[in-house]
């Protein structure tokens, strides 16, 4: 039968404030599934024109799919969020690019005609599910030297990236990190971030870590406004003695969730749903696991090629800041300055945090806001590196584009 690919649009995206993992974190006593459920509910509240039964799929990513992140989260979260039982769902995993993959996979389904409207998101409660929980790596990885042992530890892969690109120094990484904090603080001050946050009620019963009882999480907990180069210089390098990667120039261990609404463009128009971004292309690529941070480079090459675009066509970048060096590696590859104003205008994961499988949608939500503000920009991209040597890039078109300079 003849088939026409349909345009896919990003209708809306929200997230929880991100928390610090661990006993002092705001979400220490909050379930992971509740975080993503509340995001899904907020999406429906914000888009009252969308009849819930029109949702054809709920894809929820989590890296560690056990406990409150297990049980086929896309399905169970849908039921718990109050979606009709006719709406199916599934779980998805591509580590840090989980939510991004939830978006691209369901977008493929929309383009193919299998779905009209989907919910795609992710969650990672790294306090309840520390990285590496329950993993059982095949011994052949080591015995056959398929990967270096350092590939298992993301911080070590970032050190490896510094080794590969000696000119990407700790100094440059720290400078980048300081700017990320500054930009994030400014974005907060200008109310850019809060509008897409879902406040989460949080309970605390341990008086040693703060006031007890019910509270409300309304802002990202990891932010460190006022971070200076001096303060970063003194931090330990936990992954290597006299190394370069510190808690200051990397994202932390975080708890949080995101969710987005995607639709076929014609369906969005039919239902009167907003169109915040139009999907242009996406690609994932593999690299050596020991330098997973380089992943965004081949992924972006691939995505640009598929779109028939060049890097100069891209007016806005949302790059996940798992590590400052990994952002610098991408920018360096394309000859973009470390402080290029097109890159991470609101700051990035170094400031907000990076709850692994949830982060992809945060990039998109922020890019969507920037598109709205900057109708002169036609294309933007969201990209991130992924554990075990991968990168993912999604290129978006600004529906507000006014034919301006880019």
């Amino acid at each position: 039968m003849p088939r026409t690919a349909r345009d896919v649009v990003f209708v809306d995206g929200v997230r929880t404030p991100f928390g610090k993992a661990g006993p002092k974190g705001i979400y220490h006593e909050t379930r992971a599934d509740d975080l993503v459920i509340k995001c899904i509910r907020e999406l429906l509240r914000r888009n009252p024109d969308l009849p819930a039964e029109r949702i054809d799929e709920v894809a929820v990513a989590a890296t560690t799919q056990i406990g409150d992140q297990g049980l086929t989260l896309g399905r169970t979260a849908g039921i718990l969020a109050g979606l009709p039982k006719t709406v199916p769902g599934f779980s998805i995993d591509r580590m840090c690019a989980g939510a991004m993959t939830a978006v691209t996979t369901t977008s493929g389904g929309i383009a193919f005609g299998a779905y009209d409207v989907v919910v795609a998101g992710g969650v990672e409660h790294m306090g309840r599910h520390p990285m590496g929980e329950g993993v059982d790596p095949n011994p052949r990885f080591v015995s056959e030297k398929l990967v270096d042992e350092s590939a298992m530890f993301m911080g070590m892969t970032a050190e490896n990236l510094h080794d590969r690109f000696p000119h990407l120094t700790k100094q440059r990484a720290d400078e980048y990190a300081v700017r990320s904090q500054e930009k994030a603080a400014k974005a907060y001050a200008n109310g850019k971030i809060q509008q897409d946050l879902v406040p989460i009620s949080v309970r605390r019963t341990n008086p040693e870590v703060g006031e007890t009882g019910w509270g409300l999480a309304t802002a990202d907990e990891p932010m460190r406004p006022g971070t200076t180069l001096e303060s970063l210089a003194s931090l330990k390098t936990p992954f290597r003695a006299h190394g370069r990667v510190t808690a200051g120039n990397a994202a932390g261990l975080n708890d949080g969730a995101t969710a987005s609404l995607l639709a076929a463009e014609d369906v969005a128009n039919e239902l009167g749903l907003p169109v915040k971004m139009r999907l242009v292309s996406y690609a994932f690529a593999g690299v050596e696991p020991e330098v997973m941070g380089i992943g965004p480079v081949p992924a972006t090459e691939k995505a640009l090629a598929k779109a028939g675009l060049s890097i100069s066509d891209i007016g806005l970048f949302e790059v996940n800041e798992a590590f400052a060096v990994q952002v610098l590696a991408l920018l360096d590859h394309y000859g973009i300055a470390d402080d290029d104003p097109r890159v991470n205008q609101y700051g990035g994961a170094i400031a907000f945090g990076h709850p692994l499988a949830s982060s992809g949608v945060r990039l998109m939500t922020q890019l969507a806001r920037q598109f709205e503000e900057q109708p002169n920009v036609r294309y933007g991209l969201t990209t991130m590196c992924v554990g075990f040597g991968m990168g993912g890039t999604v290129i978006w078109e600004n529906p507000h584009f006014d034919g301006g300079s880019k």
């Binding site: 718990l80 406040p199 309970r203 009882g213 019910w214 409300l216």
Partner: protein
């Protein structure tokens, strides 16, 4: 003058074992930049199976929390304050254990005043206050929220009530005064009087909102988040809270009248709580809160020091605790599984039992009878009842199909019962018939299959005596209507073994019945006491007391119905039959009334006709009555009847029919509907001095169901 803190400190000293609720104060930033907010969380530190309560120390903790919030509000550090509960529970009111310990009127007064003094501070803060009813809220839990400026409720909230009147109190921490002023007297009467006296009926979240108690309702999934967002919008003036105007005219008086009518219908003036509550509601019409709170304090103190409340708490504990852990039941680990049930007989009683077993145990249930027509009728009845449940939405289509498939009929006992674990007979009430039935069943079942009898008066031991395995026989005496009355008298025969008994108790629990272990004694508990009670009424009528006087004499007890109306419900023929059985066993105390025999012989269904809408003595019955010439006064009748009841209960305890007087009361409450304010009956007999007069001693130790001396 005593400060609130001192008042509560004194009260707390009287109650060292209080499960203390803490009031956590936590600050948060409201959404939409609405400002800094103080949220109080009520939490006793235990999980949801131990709901949060307010004892004196808990109130003191809340008082301290409000000290802090009050100061912050005065200093402009917060824009509002809220109060909510731990997961699934808001707060379920005063700690009844603490109330039981109170011995002095002034201590009782302190509890009422202490609660008021703390709660009313919430309405006097310099900022608006919000209650978020996140989960179960009862009594003082509801009331603390009523003192706030605004309320939200969760759609998932399962239970919300002011149960005070049900127990013998008034909602005395603001409920009687604030609720009618918030939602109008009529709705307040529904919550405070009608629901409370209707077996403590609970409201759901949506009803709390519809009644106007809560200003907004949100789904459970993000209830607190949405409540706080709503709070922000109220504080920013974006949401205006509009409440229905309260009608302070004639409607208010009519509502109070309606309340009195409901109370009369339920307790017949015999218990004071509902009337005290109505007096306060009536007075609240003028909107004077201070006066209302003072009246509440006084009513609380009076009622706490009165016998009805202590009886009410005693009765509540019997039903809630003793009813769930039956005294004398063997180790439940001895119970054998029951995966198929047989019912001998397919009459109305048998069919009701089949329905109950199928619904609760969800195992196959087979009815047998002597011909196909009866079997078909029995199965048809059960299937018809399941269809009614389906039509009412009480079961789903799948569940209805499942239940119908579970209930079948057969003429072949061997095929029907061969693999049954539990067979109950509900055939004609005659020893020979029942012995024959059990012999037939024993021939086709395994050696451990329980044989249960629903006999109301025959000896279980005798019924078992001719069997090869008499140790498997138990009495399983239900009360009509089976689906409604909770009581199940489980009778241990002389040879019944522990495993069989444990199995019977296990089945009773799954049937959700209140099981009481009873010795194999004539008519067991409820029928013996009711027959003695009614027999004595019948005696005084036979001797010459007018029917109206005899009936009226019992009214002050506040029983659910008069003795002769009850006789009509049971059926005069059955009443006569039981009295004959008991006469056979105890001829000195149980007489067979010739007048009752005559009424039965004449085929009358009761003593009354209802042509005028009220019960009036049927002239045809009046013509049958052959009365003597000794006419007693109401007081004399009452004394004689209560003396008889006290004597009978005393003898039953001497005979070890049940373990303790508590079991008698539990049986009367759950099997005969005798009221909480009597505590069943023995607290009342103790209180009125009847026990002492008849038996020379109380049934219950001091303090068990009365104000400790």
């Amino acid at each position: 003058m005593t400060t609130t803190a001192e008042l509560l400190k004194g009260a707390a000293e009287l109650f060292p074992d209080e499960v203390v609720t803490r009031s956590h104060v936590r600050h948060l930033e409201l959404p939409q930049g609405a400002g800094r907010f103080a949220l109080i969380t009520l939490d006793n530190g235990l999980d949801h199976t131990k709901p949060t309560t307010f004892g004196p120390q808990s109130l003191a903790n809340l008082n301290t929390a409000i000290d802090q919030v009050e100061k912050e509000a005065a200093d402009g550090e917060i824009v509002g304050a809220g109060i909510t509960g731990k997961p699934f529970i808001f707060a379920v009111g005063a700690d009844l254990k603490g109330v039981e310990l109170l011995k002095r009127h002034e201590d009782a007064l302190a509890i009422g005043k202490g609660g008021h003094d703390v709660f009313k501070r919430l309405s006097a803060l310099a900022v608006p206050t919000f209650a978020y009813y996140n989960g179960a809220a009862m009594g003082g839990g509801v009331e603390v929220g009523l003192h706030c400026s605004y309320r939200t409720v969760s759609k998932a909230l399962p239970a919300f009530s002011l149960p005070e009147v049900f127990l013998g109190l008034v909602p005395g921490w603001g409920g009687c005064t604030l609720l009618p002023n918030l939602i109008g007297a009529d709705r307040a009467v529904s919550v405070i009087i009608e629901n409370s006296l209707n077996q403590n009926k609970q409201l759901k979240g949506s009803q709390v909102h519809e009644l106007g108690i809560a200003d907004a309702i949100f789904e459970g999934a993000d209830f607190l988040e949405q409540s706080l967002a709503w709070t922000a919008s109220v504080l920013k003036g974006e949401t205006e809270v509009v409440r229905a105007e309260v009608d302070r005219g004639e409607a208010w008086d009519q509502a109070v009248q309606r309340g009195r009518f409901i109370a009369d219908g339920k307790v017949h003036g015999a218990a004071p709580a509902a009337y005290r509550a109505l007096d306060i509601i009536a007075a609240a019409k003028n909107g004077d809160l201070r006066q209302g709170f003072a009246a509440e304090d006084q009513a609380l103190a009076d009622l706490i020091m009165g016998g009805e409340l202590r009886s009410g708490i005693y009765a509540f504990n019997l039903v809630q605790k003793r009813g769930k852990r039956p005294a004398g039941a063997p180790d439940k680990n001895l119970a054998r599984p029951v995966s198929k049930v047989g019912v001998v007989g397919a009459g109305l009683m048998a069919s009701q039992l089949a329905l109950l077993f199928a619904r609760r145990l969800e195992v196959p249930v087979v009815l047998t009878d002597i011909d196909q027509e009866r079997v078909d009728k029995g199965v048809g009845y059960v299937h018809g009842e399941i269809d009614k449940l389906l039509a009412k939405g009480r079961v789903s289509g799948d569940k209805a199909n499942r239940l119908k498939a579970l209930v079948t009929g057969s003429l072949d006992k061997a095929a029907a019962f061969g693999d049954a674990d539990f067979v109950i007979e509900a055939v004609f009430e005659e020893m020979g018939v029942k012995q024959k039935v059990f012999a037939e069943v024993e021939a086709v079942v395994g050696p451990q299959t329980i044989l249960a009898t629903n006999t109301s008066s025959l000896s279980v031991s005798e019924m078992a005596s001719k069997l090869e395995h008499p140790e498997r026989v138990v009495g399983f005496h239900f009360f009509n209507p089976v689906a409604i009355l909770p009581l199940l008298e489980i009778v241990r025969g002389e040879q019944t073994d522990d495993a069989s008994l444990a199995t019977a108790f296990g089945v009773a629990k799954k049937l959700k019945k209140t099981a009481v272990l009873v010795k194999d004694a004539p008519a067991f508990v409820v029928n013996r006491i009711l027959t003695r009670f009614m027999g004595e009424i019948q005696n005084v009528i036979d001797e010459g007391t007018p029917v109206e006087v005899a009936e009226k004499a019992i009214e002050p007890l506040g029983l659910p119905m008069s003795p002769l109306v009850l006789l009509e419900l049971v059926g005069p023929a059955i009443g006569l039959h039981v009295s004959e059985t008991l006469h056979g066993a105890f001829p000195d105390r149980f007489k067979v009334s010739p007048n009752l025999a005559a009424v039965v012989k004449a085929g009358k269904r009761g003593f009354y006709v209802y042509d005028s809408g009220k019960p009036e003595l049927d002239p045809e019955v009046a013509a049958l009555l052959q009365q003597g010439d000794v006419a007693l006064t109401e007081q004399q009748v009452r004394d004689r009847v209560l003396d008889a009841v006290a004597q009978e209960i005393g003898l039953m305890l001497d005979e070890d029919v049940v373990a303790e007087a508590q079991d008698i009361d539990l049986c009367l409450i759950t099997g005969a509907g005798w009221p909480f304010h009597l505590g069943g009956i023995t607290p009342y007999l103790d209180r009125e001095g009847v026990s002492e007069r008849v038996n020379g001693k109380r049934f219950l130790a001091q303090g068990v169901a009365n104000v400790p001396a």
